[in-house]
Amino acid sequence: MKMSKSMTYDQQQKRLSQIFVFPGFLLIMFVMIGVGLYSINLSFRDVELLNRSSAGSFVGFDTYRTVLEKEETLITIRNSLVWVLTGTSAVVLLGILTGYLLSDSSRIARLSRAFMLIPWVMPGVVVAGLWKWMYNTQNGLINEFFVSIGILDKGFPFLGTPETALIASSAVIIWRLFPMYALGISASIQSIDTSHYEAGRVDGMNTWQEFTFIILPHIKYQIMTMGITNLIWIMNNLVFINVMTKGGPLYYSEIIPVYMFKLGFQYGKLSQAAVVTVLNLLILGIFCTVYFFLYRKSQKSDQGGK
């Protein structure tokens, strides 16, 4: 009697689960895959903003050729590489350093941890506006600081100079992301069993050895999975550049998402923007695969450790 009832319970629950999961999941997949495929379709046509209701005509790889032959495209790709590499490596390095410093239980560390989340949760537009102002030559905090310690004679237009616009912007995204990364690292370091440190001390390890032989192996997957997540966030960031420099001067600080936005909504070349979308999705796909394997591996190593 009890057996049959619990079986029907299982069956009923199974049906409920299916009803719960599939409609929503299929909706998400339908839209995401549909939209992804649609951008491929769009990239082989010649749709513009002005005739966006028509399907445009099929032009094969013509739009790809047009886009790839533009100087702006090449500069954008180069900028994106610089933006992603500087951004990610700075976030990871500063994040590990700060996370390590935050991982003890001192009062300063606890106080600092409370502040670390704020840059990450603040609206992107607010962060961008704040830093645009701080970079201002007239009354910006950063220029004022450099002038007062004697590095600069007068305010320097960091965001308005071709050579510095991109790096100055990337400092902003680093400021936004590294504290969050540090929080993740410090949480991970705090979860290390203290017996490891005791064993290390018996062996006569110094602080540096403790870091490289005990802490680093423990947080290595954390470093990588969070690193990839941050890389994807940095790669896909639109708001900072769009608000601070709009890709300028000319296109010296233009990165792929900004370029996509500009091509589509300012130049009105939707198909060209779709070409960039497709290329960007391919790159993103590669990083997602890497992320996925690292994630799986870290799950396995976690289970193995228990």
Binding site: Q12, K14, L16, S17, F20, V21, F25, I28, M29, V31, M32, G34, Y38, S39, L42, L97, L101, I108, S112, F115, L117, I118, P119, M122, P123, G124, V125, V126, G129, L130, W133, N139, E144, S148, A182, L183, A187, Q222, T225, M226, T229, I232, W233, N236, N237, L238, V243, P257, M260, F261, G264, F265, A273, A274, N280, C288, Y291, F292, Q299, D302
Partner: protein, 284 residues
Amino acid sequence: MNTKKTAYMAAKLLKSLIGIVMLLIVVIPLLWLVTAGFKTQADIQRIPIKIFPSQVTVKPFIDVWFDRTGMGSLWFRYFFNTTKIALITTVFVISLGTMIGYGLARYKLRGSSVILNVLLIAQLFSGPALMIPVYVVISKMGLYDTHTGLILAYLVFQTPFAAWLSYSNFQNLPRELEQAAFLDGCSPLGAFIRVTLPLSRISISTVGLMSLLLTWSEYPYSAALLENQRNLTISIGLARFISAFNIYWNQMAAASIIVGLPILFILVFTQRYFVQGMMAGAIK
């Protein structure tokens, strides 16, 4: 022994020093923003800059809402739009995310691990990567420059993460309680509504607050899918204000504080979960 002790002390001092520098790097811009909201226009434009205002004023905060020459004329509108969009999105994201998460946690359906992995990947595509095709599709559906279109986009892009978060929460909730409710005559749906949901209040609110927060400050899709001044969200309104008026930094700061306050409020409740969510390894 003594040199070892000095070395140890030096290392400790260095650690604290770097720690304080890092803290200052994070905190100074924030303090700068907060104080700017209380400065007069004259103090804001003074050269060299004044760190401490000669006069504390709340005028910028009033101007944000009421000054007709600045953003005041439309700020109420932006605020209302954003609140509306955020609330509706949150309700849908909570419902859909909770359902998917619960289903995946309770029953090992055929392919549920595949679904979980797909959701994990899908969550990484939620940025502006798909902005262009979404814009064209939404236009074709006749939903361009409507809040419905924007909410639809948010729903699709936010649900994967919400589902993951709920999934990991429901997995920690023992099944036996639902089984007991079932033996007492509840249907599985009834057990879910009467037993599971009340027990998961905290995790469900976390999902909701996350969604509120994401929608509240979202930029790319509202930039791509909205056009009319009266339809804009706070993010876009603020962005336009920043590029149009390069001198009213105190108003910009005041507006930023107004936008940031709800987030700080949310943060107080969800800090722990944010770090967990970010450390994907912690979600099991």
